[in-house]
């Protein structure tokens, strides 16, 4: 089981002439193993920056991030991006294998199994350009699960898809997650999506502070039509509306000198 610990994490961007913009401000949280955590918040509150820092794509200014794994050895991460980020000149299967540590037969079988789980095993030899946007995103999800990550990061993976495709993929994601039980950090601006998928929702506010940490204790699989899910969605939405109202009343602080 992997545990992600974020301690006093801050990120500032240097704007030149001794001015800087603070994106994340001394935030701390822990994600224990086999938990699905969503990070929500209004645009510009630092959700994607947080994910990029955890993944190592971006540097942080101060604080500490640790990812520990019971299995020992370096912790493995998977990442599902907003867009599929597939190599257009490689087939679906070769894209799956591109990110794998070893290229053994077992790994190929595992990649095929995850492709099968997203319903694309028969498309393994296709180029990404021959697939629809939704199918490409399913390849991106299968690729992330197929590396058997200790921690899976997902950055608004359904935001570029139409509503029906997104709903289908959310249901598929719940099924795969139920089988694999990976530790997931999921960034979204969609509260409905967050409630449907998560065990816990961390709400970020403008300026990069944690506004609220909500635990969701509803049975799975969840569907939007479930009454309890709908009630909780309305509740979280109301809390976010309050946050928005507060943000409007107190505009984001000017960059600090």
């Amino acid at each position: 089981m992997a545990v992600l610990t974020v301690t006093n994490l801050s990120k500032t961007f240097n704007l030149g002439t001794a001015r800087e913009s603070r994106i994340l401000d001394d935030i701390s949280f822990e994600v224990s193993g086999q938990t699905f955590v969503s990070i929500v918040g209004p645009s510009g509150c630092g959700k994607s920056t947080l994910l990029n820092i955890i993944s190592g794509v971006e540097e942080h200014t101060s604080g500490d991030i640790t990812l520990t794994s019971d299995a020992g050895g370096p912790a493995r991460m998977g990442y599902v991006f907003q867009d599929p980020r597939l190599l257009p000149w490689r087939s679906v299967m070769k894209n799956m294998m591109y990110v794998q540590d070893d290229q053994s037969r077992d790994t190929v079988a595992r990649a095929e199994r995850y492709l099968d789980m997203v319903g694309l095993k028969k498309n393994a030899d296709f180029y990404p350009g021959q697939l629809s946007g939704g199918m490409q995103q399913r390849v991106g999800i299968a690729r992330a699960f197929a590396v058997e990550p200790d921690l899976l990061l997902m950055d608004e993976p359904f935001s570029h898809l139409d509503a029906i495709t997104a709903r289908g993929l959310r249901e598929q994601l719940q099924d795969i997650w139920a089988q694999s039980k990976k530790t997931v950090v999921f960034v979204t601006h969609d509260v409905v999506e967050a409630v449907e998928l998560s065990d816990r929702i961390i709400v970020l506010q403008p300026g990069g502070l944690i506004y609220e940490d909500i635990t969701i204790d509803l049975p799975r699989p969840r569907r939007q039509s479930d009454k309890a899910v709908a009630t909780l969605q309305a509740d979280v939405l109301a809390r976010l509306e309050t946050l928005k109202a507060m943000a409007a009343a107190e505009p984001v602080a000017e960059p600090v000198a």
């Binding site: 190592g56 991460m77 998977g78 990442y79 980020r85 190599l87 591109y98 990110v99 296709f126 021959q130």
Partner: protein, 281 residues
């Protein structure tokens, strides 16, 4: 004031209708399809060039016409000069361009991926770019004397900076998103170069190799011209010194023809093959 009416005018009923591609295809006469095809354009271009050549040669004594050049070429064949000399040049040119491609792609990828390498190599490459082929030809004749080495090194030195610059430019343009994806998944550097960088810069490599061929053939010709030791350049100079311009032009035409065929039937096909994923829709 603008008046809007739902009554169709006679103009809108005839001009407003757009024909489908099937209708346009059916209505176009066969002769027009042939004349507006790509092969017809290529043949017309070639004929126009030959016609221009004929006219210029008729106007100026010192420009040999196509017939005179062809006759000189046939004479060279019958004297047994073509295969040996052309083979020597081809060997030198081929080795020089191949070396330039391999070294140019490797250095270009390095410069594209590493800021430090770029800072270190940018100035030497710029200097090499600005040195004309004729300078390299003189230098290599002085350094290596007659034989194959001079023309090979000249071809290599004249063409490698063009491959480096093109490939480095291409590597810097590789999608940031795909590079971040590779970094996130900790993909080994060798695999990133093979599966991400090289396919992404195929077009730049092709452009670099095209430049290498065009520039390299200048280099090999000049090195043979000044260095002797046989070859197309050597024979071209032989006829030039003998004041027989048709013989000189025959060798130039032979090599240019070869370059054009190489480009069309080898390089073009290789590029099409490497881009077949684009057509798979």
């Amino acid at each position: 004031m603008t008046t809007v009416s739902d009554q169709p005018t006679s103009a809108s009923s005839t001009v407003g209708r757009r024909r489908s591609t099937t209708e346009i295809e059916q209505d176009t006469p066969q002769w027009r399809k042939v004349l507006t095809s790509d092969p017809a354009a290529r043949v017309t271009s070639l004929l126009a060039f030959v016609l221009f050549w004929v006219v210029v040669s008729a106007l100026f004594d010192r420009v040999p016409g196509p017939v005179a050049v062809w006759t000189s070429l046939v004479d060279e064949f019958s004297r047994g000069e073509v295969f040996g000399n052309f083979g020597s040049t081809l060997y030198r040119f081929g080795v020089g361009v191949a070396l330039a491609t391999v070294v140019g792609v490797a250095v270009g990828v390095l410069m594209g991926l590493s800021q430090l390498s770029r800072a270190f190599l940018e100035s030497p490459v710029l200097v090499a770019l600005s040195i004309p082929a004729i300078i390299w030809a003189f230098l290599t004749v002085m350094w290596f004397g007659f034989g194959d080495t001079g023309p090979i090194i000249t071809t290599f030195l004249t063409s490698v900076p063009f491959v480096i610059v093109n490939v480095a430019q291409g590597v810097r343009g590789v999608s940031r998103d795909l590079r971040d994806m590779s970094a996130t998944y900790d993909v080994p550097m060798g695999r990133r170069v093979r599966d991400l960088v090289l396919p992404a810069v195929t077009g730049y490599i092709a452009a670099g190799v095209r430049f290498a061929i065009i520039i390299g053939w200048n280099g090999v010709l000049l090195a043979e011209w000044f260095g002797g030791g046989g070859g197309v350049g050597y024979r071209a100079r032989f006829w030039y010194d003998a004041n027989r311009y048709a013989g000189f032009a025959a060798w130039v035409v032979l090599f240019v023809g070869f370059i054009v065929l190489l480009d069309r039937f080898v390089l073009d096909k290789a590029i099409q093959r490497s881009f077949r994923w684009r057509d798979a829709r």
